[in-house]
Subunit: 285 residues, 2 copies
Amino acid sequence: MADWITPGPKASKDGLESESEQAGADLAAEHSDAHNDEAAPALLDGADSEIGACACSACPAHAFSLCAAVDKMPATVTPLATLIESSAQTVPARRLICHPKDWSEFVPIICQGWAASSIILADGRRQILSFLLSGDLVSSASLFGSISGRSVEAITPVRYRKFRRKDIKALIFNDPDLLEKISRIWIEEREQADQLALDLGRRMAPERIARLILYIAEKLGKRGMMTGNTMFFPLRQRHIADATGLTPVHVSKVLSDLQRNGVVQISGRSLTINNETELRIVANW
Amino acid sequence: MADWITPGPKASKDGLESESEQAGADLAAEHSDAHNDEAAPALLDGADSEIGACACSACPAHAFSLCAAVDKMPATVTPLATLIESSAQTVPARRLICHPKDWSEFVPIICQGWAASSIILADGRRQILSFLLSGDLVSSASLFGSISGRSVEAITPVRYRKFRRKDIKALIFNDPDLLEKISRIWIEEREQADQLALDLGRRMAPERIARLILYIAEKLGKRGMMTGNTMFFPLRQRHIADATGLTPVHVSKVLSDLQRNGVVQISGRSLTINNETELRIVANW
DNA sequence: CGTGATATTGACAGGTCTCAAGACAAGTGG
DNA sequence: CCACTTGTCTTGAGACCTGTCAATATCACG
């Protein structure tokens, strides 16, 4: 054995194995609905109705996502029914939406709720690569080929769809407009991956956390999901830790600092940016 | 000011501003040539000859890269001459190939030598996102739109080309085979970006460095640029530091450990993996 | 021989991790 | 209604990994 190398940090023992529902899951759903009140409530409970009609027209992120293009597609090209593995499925919080080995044929798209895409090592270390909101693909790369080793976990209760990659791919290759749109998503995704590497490699803990908050606020803002400086914020400190390469304990200390100094305020599952200027200074943004 | 936050680490003072040639640049070129002896030497000095003929046919990474497709393209689609901004250019080591604001119109491709693609902050902190070898694009995303804030720096003397994005893009959109090939590059790139985030966020220094060495060895192996367990290794410890999110001082200590324990051996600009099993244990690979 | 870049080494400091204990909220079963 | 569990958050003490600073050596180069 390599006993002269320094041992790695112990993996967090907060496993994913528990199937019990988390506290606050209902609150999360409620809050999420409050922000997406244009979604037809009928679609939420009767998940398996209407295979033919794409529910994406009710998706708040309609304009950003692939669903829009699928929606506009004349059914003559490919019958829509074959594009959709099943109608939207709903899973409770903390459930895995995609297992690391589950990428062979289908591409999931988040319809509603928050999810996290991450890599999990055998020893339990985990790195969250991105948070997914309504209309988000896990990665645009997943449209073209199976990506391995990625897990997708629901943070709030999540409604999602799975598309058959083969069909989606054919659709994209035959539609220059769609391809153009995908390539823009691709560039944006690449940009975000680069920034993540920069954050993890070269920034201190308060900087990383402040940037994560600002990034999420911006993302929510684009979807009209900010009310003033307040946003629905279902992330556990463990999620923040796994996204920023820190430990939950340290995240707690940094967030306490931020709140003690009146920069942000977190209560329940909502976060308010009280002093955006200061937050940007901390974030070096 | 935010005097209650912990200050960030001082940026490394090893700036890029110096224009003097580094020691060992010629050695690097020599060595590189030794590994790429199938490249016609005439192309190396007479860089501006033969605009019409694509020199990529001599590129050792021919099969991996976009150049192959461009090469096969019938000239009737787009005259090759218009695809190429200028014939291959050669820059000495430590020169910037692409400035952060220089991505408006052209896409660089490395023909020969080693380069590093990185993000550099105003305070000097730098994160290397990838090392580029012959045939490598900086990022496949750059084919579709300008990416901002990325710098590309020559590590050895580098020969490269710039393609006009508009033309390349048209080429790709009209050739399904090429698009398929690009999408495979994309997936691979995404995979590597994910692994980088995992490395930076969740691995210890020896793990990161060992993985970097193994990754480079694998990359060189695919190009037939390994001789046994020995490879040309022009990276300065500063490059390793900037790629792994560490400081040059700490990289030196970890590498010293690795060499003291007979895992690897570095002399001059070449690196030998003496004990691959042990290196993989350290790398957790 | 002075200069600049690089690499090595040691002492020290500091950011983050580990471990532990406790508080709190929510759900469960008695 | 009350124990009990589970998950989350907070706080403190101490350890450790890595960064900072400094001195020195080497090498290439002009």
